[in-house]
Each structure stands twice: as structure tokens, then as C-alpha cells.
């Protein structure tokens, strides 16, 4: 990992993995949103995503690598940074000079990670099991596509909906700081930076809110 031996290289790698996740979230949300108005479209889209070889065997491994890289690197950086101050201040007024979100990326990140574990257990593992262990690539159950029904079923329990809401609020905070931070890390700071910041803030609200709406919608309409 000699390319990642310098602090700046690690920061840039962190930013690149984050930008990749940011793009992924848009695609994921776009598919989820179709479930609000059409079970059919959602089924088609899910089936395409779940069976297209390019997505399954090229995009999916890259995505998994991106997520794992991002949070492993996040933890590594956090530990190193903690170690860079061996004696703590008796009084440290962090709020005077920086936002809560910027100082607690590891907390919002850890919550997102916990959510990802639930999310994988809920959707990803059963999918992989059905498709590649049981070998059922049809996406069918009782003669119909199963995706929409599975989705509705998952959002019945209140605890899961609550977990979704909490996780996405924290994702919003992660991105409130993270979006513009990724650009700064890559050396992008110029007259367009205020646009990046504004766009980042909109993204950090709209995308998590979209996911929350999908979860709430299916909780109350099934």
C-alpha cells in the first residue's frame, strides 16, 4: 500500500471512494423511488439490476470494494488522528470553530455501517442466496416478480422503519460535511466551490429524505 503511505494520498483515496458512493446512492434511490408509483416498474428495475451480468459481476464487486475501503480507511484515519494527540485538553471548545458533523464523521459513519449490516442481512444476503446458492435467477415467486412484495414486507415492522430514518438522518449529516470535504481533499477550491457547497447541501438533504420517504410510504401503504 505504498501509494497510500502519505496523508494526502489517503485523503484523496477517501474522497474518491466517497464520490463513488455518492453516485451509487443516486442510482439506488432512483430505483427505490419507482416503488412509490409502480410495483411493475420497480420489479423490472430490480430484476434488471439483480441479473444483469455487467452490474452483478463488474459494478457490484467494485461497489463492495468501495464501501469496505471507505469505512476501513475511515477507521484507520480516525485511529491515527486520535493518536496524534496523546494528552487531551481539559477544555476543548470544538464547536467554536467547526461543525458537529465535521468533527464526528466516525460516529455518523459507524451508524451508517451498522445500518449497512442490517441492510445486507435484509436484502443482499437473501438475494445472493436465492440467485447463486439456490440457483433461482427467475426473480419469480408464485408466478409473479417477488421484489415489490419483499420490499413491502420488510417495511412492516416499526423498528426497521425507525432504524432507516435514524441511519439516513446520520447519512445526511455525514454528507453535509463530507460532500464538500471530498472536493477540498482532491484540491478543488476555487470560485465554483460555493456552488459545490450548495449542491452538496441539497444532495445531503434530498437523497436521504428520498430513502426515508420510500420506507415510510411502504410502512403506511401495504
Amino acid at each position: 500500500m505504498s501509494v497510500l503511505s502519505s496523508s494526502i494520498a489517503r485523503k484523496v483515496a477517501m474522497a474518491l471512494s466517497a464520490l463513488f458512493l455518492i453516485i451509487f446512492l443516486i442510482i439506488h434511490l432512483a430505483v427505490n423511488l419507482t416503488s412509490l408509483f409502480s410495483a411493475e416498474v420497480f420489479n423490472e428495475a430490480s430484476h434488471f439490476m439483480g441479473t444483469n451480468p455487467l452490474i452483478q459481476f463488474a459494478m457490484q464487486p467494485v461497489l463492495i470494494f468501495g464501501v469496505v475501503f471507505h469505512f476501513v480507511m475511515g477507521f484507520v484515519l480516525e485511529l491515527r488522528n486520535k493518536g496524534a494527540r496523546n494528552v487531551k485538553y481539559a477544555k476543548f471548545n470544538g464547536a467554536a470553530s467547526s461543525s458537529w458533523a465535521s468533527r464526528n464523521m466516525i460516529i455518523s459513519g459507524a451508524v451508517i455501517l451498522a445500518f449497512l449490516v442490517i441492510h445486507f442481512l435484509d436484502f443482499w444476503i437473501p438475494e445472493i442466496n436465492t440467485k447463486y446458492v439456490l440457483g433461482d435467477m427467475t426473480g419469480m415467486h408464485n408466478g409473479e416478480f417477488r421484489y415489490f412484495e419483499e420490499l413491502q414486507h420488510k417495511f412492516v415492522p416499526m423498528w426497521r422503519v425507525a432504524a432507516y430514518v435514524v441511519a439516513f438522518v446520520l447519512l445526511g449529516m455525514h454528507l453535509m460535511h463530507g460532500f464538500q470535504s471530498a472536493f477540498q481533499s482532491m484540491g478543488f477550491n476555487n470560485k465554483y466551490s460555493s456552488c459545490v457547497k450548495t449542491f452538496g447541501k441539497c444532495y445531503s438533504i434530498v437523497i436521504p429524505l428520498g430513502f426515508i420517504i420510500v420506507a415510510l410510504f411502504h410502512h403506511f401503504n401495504h
Binding site: 494526502i8 489517503r10 484523496v12 488522528n81 481539559a90 477544555k91 470553530s97 477550491n189
Partner: protein
């Protein structure tokens, strides 16, 4: 006004330190913060106690020696000033004030409130200069045309006094603002471009070797910096570093 001070006392680099409480009375609001410290020390000396060691030199905000972490912020609660420019009118009668040294593994405490900032010196030695021939036929710097904006930005970066408040304020003890100011002041000028790639590589390597943390762009350094050094310098250093690594 009367104040309660909680001050870090530590006899030497290897000694264990602790916060010690002191009371000062009849402090004028017109006093500077360091004058208040002087009065406290005079009292300690009169009582036969060891005075509190703290760094200071010019006492007019230009040398970068003074370095107190006051009530949780480097150089105290005011913006754009050093500790020596801080006045007691910022505080109220009856206040409790925490006074601590800069905290970073790369800035070990020497005594009480004095920390060893040689790490900054070593980063400078790794590349914070330009190599010019001083044999008597040096080219006049004014003979080289430089766009006004570049000259201004370089001058802004050069305003850094190397105080270390950026490190002290950063939750990661990152020295990126300091190093980026030193990289930028040269990178922006034609004279600095010649050695730009080696400079940024070597200075960043030294910064990492000294044990400073990673920047997470919280922006605390920019807010606390007495000289208003901008985060744009960090982005510029990242660009310079990427350029130097790729080419």
C-alpha cells in the same frame, strides 16, 4: 476583576503534569492576557513559588511565539489575534479561565505551557525555501513579472507566523494549514516553481513523519488562525502534491 485560573503545570518533559487552580484579583480590563500572566507570576515569585513558564517574545502579534490554549481555543476566544493581542476585557469578573499548552504528540511539552515546536522547523528545513545563487550576481526579484493576484495570494500565505494554533485547534492535530501556507507562498511565484515538486513531497513527508494527524477539513484551523490563512492553501497543497506524485 477577579478570576479563577486553571493552569497546566508540568515540571519537565518527562514529568507528569496536572491542572492547578490559581486566583488573581484586581485585574484591569485594559491589561493584555500576558500581562495578567505576568502579575500572576510576580505573585508566585513573591510567595517563593516557581513561576509559570509560557512562551512569548514580540507581544505584538508578529513573532508567533505566544501559544496558549485559552478556554478551549488557541489564542483565546477572539478571532484573528494571537494570545499576546488578547485583552482582559474579553472576560468577565468571576470567570474561570482554562489555560493549557498546545496539545499534539508532535508538540511535546517542555515545561508548563511551553511546547517544543521544532517539528515546524524541521518541516521548513525539508523544503520551505528556494535555492538562489547569492554569489553577487543574483537576479533582482523585481525584474521578474508576477501577476498581481499571484503576488497577493503568495503574500497572504506568507503571513503565517508558524505559531501552531492550527495544530492546536484541530481535532486531528493536523499541521496541514501551516504546511500548505509554506508550500503556497513559493508555489505561487515563478522563483518557487523550480523546486515545487520536491518541496511539496519533502515537506509533506516530514509533516507525516513528525506525527501530525490527517486533515478532515473541519475548518477549525482557518477559524482559529491569527493570520487568517485560508483553507484554499490546503487545496492548493493537495493539488501540488498530486501533480508532484503523478508527474
Amino acid at each position: 476583576m477577579n478570576l479563577t485560573l486553571k493552569i497546566w503545570r508540568q515540571k519537565g518533559p518527562q514529568e507528569k503534569g496536572q491542572m492547578v487552580e490559581y486566583k488573581v484579583t484586581d485585574i484591569s480590563e485594559h491589561m493584555s492576557f500576558l500581562e495578567m500572566m505576568d502579575i500572576l507570576n510576580e505573585g508566585l515569585v513573591a510567595k517563593g513559588e516557581v513561576p509559570i513558564a509560557f512562551d512569548h517574545d514580540c507581544r505584538e502579534g508578529i513573532c508567533g511565539m505566544c501559544s496558549l490554549h485559552i478556554n478551549g481555543e488557541p489564542h483565546g476566544p477572539d478571532r484573528g489575534i494571537t494570545t499576546c493581542q488578547l485583552h482582559m476585557r474579553t472576560f468577565k469578573d468571576g470567570d474561570t479561565i482554562y489555560i493549557e499548552p498546545w496539545r499534539a504528540k508532535a508538540f511535546p511539552v517542555i515545561k508548563d505551557l511551553i511546547v517544543d515546536r521544532m517539528a515546524f522547523e524541521r518541516i521548513q528545513q525539508a523544503g520551505g525555501y528556494i535555492s538562489v545563487n547569492t554569489s553577487g550576481n543574483t537576479q533582482d526579484a523585481n525584474a521578474i513579472p508576477i501577476p498581481k493576484l499571484d503576488a497577493d495570494l503568495s503574500m497572504d500565505a506568507a503571513a503565517c507566523i508558524g505559531c501552531g494554533a492550527c495544530v492546536a485547534s484541530c481535532k486531528n492535530s493536523s499541521a496541514m494549514l501551516f504546511v500548505s501556507a509554506k508550500v503556497s507562498q513559493f508555489a505561487l511565484l515563478p522563483q518557487g516553481k523550480v523546486e515545487a515538486a520536491d518541496r511539496v513531497r519533502n515537506m509533506v513527508k516530514q509533516m507525516d513523519d513528525e506525527g501530525f494527524g490527517n486533515c478532515t477539513n473541519t475548518g477549525a484551523c482557518e477559524v482559529e488562525c491569527p493570520k487568517g490563512i485560508s483553507l484554499e492553501n490546503i487545496a492548493r497543497m493537495n493539488r501540488e502534491y498530486l501533480k508532484a506524485s503523478i508527474i
